[in-house]
Symmetry: C2
Subunit: 218 residues, 2 copies
């Protein structure tokens, strides 16, 4: 019997790979994609195209309230997106305070509403240093909260929490993920910039996996 | 030195009493009030009037996304609000799945953004039976998650978690709370209906405290 599960699908590398992975494992999936006013709207469009291709229902949730609460370089067009490596202090400008808890709790509300017992998301090892709410201890704490938030249990899982982005790409290639339908760049251009912290990390992941990124860069 | 704190102020009995209480204790408060498309908009207006009277800054956060995610008797005008006691099975219709986690996480994002170290909310003992996310264990789990969601610690407190609504009213009377500026009824009428589960509970609290409710009823 297939378990009903909700997956948070951003349209990036990690969540798209996880979508293919869980589908392979036989979960009956519904994807939740957030529109939080991000500059990189293309990732939402790519998430939709992946869902259409795999015949997976998708719910787009309006989370633009984050913009109002926590203006940052990701949602405000008057701030420049920092370039360079994720290790740089400047990348902390891209942190929307408490973003993951907000998005997880919205996805959980939706999952409970459709009686899904599982909620998956694609946090991975590389996020830990920058995003406090991507650390394993935070995921454990949220898992504990989800056990208590409703009379019916909701299980939260982040299966890639201990994988590097390079490992995720390797896994995705074995699952047949079409990475030309994933978007990573934080800028809103026609092609990926290849310079922002996010592009930098993606390109490193493909180098690690020993394959070329099928995406076009400026 | 005053500690900067955010309080979730619905405009109801519990949170309004807590506002007066924390102000008395010397916290430098900012109130956060949610507009989630509730029928009882009057509670938002009353929250605003209380803030104006006490000269406390108020941030109204648009949480209408809850309406989209989890239609329930509180946000949909096509469903009747159940009447009678909170113990009734029908009152479970008023539960928006995971509502408290969504609202707490939004308030936390705002609190982190303004560098407040404390987040308070007015969950109380009477909520436990109906709302899974008002149980002490849930508050503990969220407290643990808030310790981890940001590099700067955010302390979550629900000081009334073990008080009855009657005890809260007694406390509020000693603090000089103007309960004519609080709203409880789930229906959207000019006067409180006096019949819905929420009115029923409020009237019982005033009976417990041995005073008359200053609010007008139909």
């Amino acid at each position: 019997m297939k378990h009903d599960a909700v997956i948070i699908l951003s349209g990036g590398l990690d969540s798209t790979t996880l979508l293919y992975d869980l589908r392979e494992q036989g979960y009956a999936l519904t994807a939740v994609t957030f529109d939080y006013g991000q500059r990189h709207k293309r990732e939402i469009a790519y998430a939709t195209r992946t869902c259409e291709r795999l015949d997976i229902p998708q719910k787009i949730i309006d989370a633009r309230v984050l913009h109002d609460l926590a203006p940052s370089a990701l949602t405000r067009s008057d701030l420049a997106v920092p370039e360079g490596n994720y290790d740089d202090e400047t990348m902390k400008q891209t942190v929307v305070p408490n973003r993951n808890m907000v998005l997880l709790s919205l996805a959980a509300a939706y999952a409970i509403g459709i009686h899904a017992g599982h909620l998956f998301y694609g946090a991975h090892a590389g996020d830990h240093a920058i995003y406090p709410d991507c650390r394993p201890a935070f995921v454990d704490a949220m898992t504990a909260a989800f056990h208590l938030c409703d009379w019916n249990d909701l299980v939260l899982s982040a299966p890639y929490l201990h994988l590097s982005k390079g490992d995720i790409v390797k896994r995705g290639l074995s699952l047949g993920v079409d990475y030309s339908l994933t978007w990573t760049c934080y800028k809103g251009g026609e092609k990926a910039c290849g310079k922002c912290g996010s592009c930098d990390e993606r390109l490193a992941a493909f180098r690690d996996a020993g394959v070329a990124d099928p995406l076009e860069y400026e």
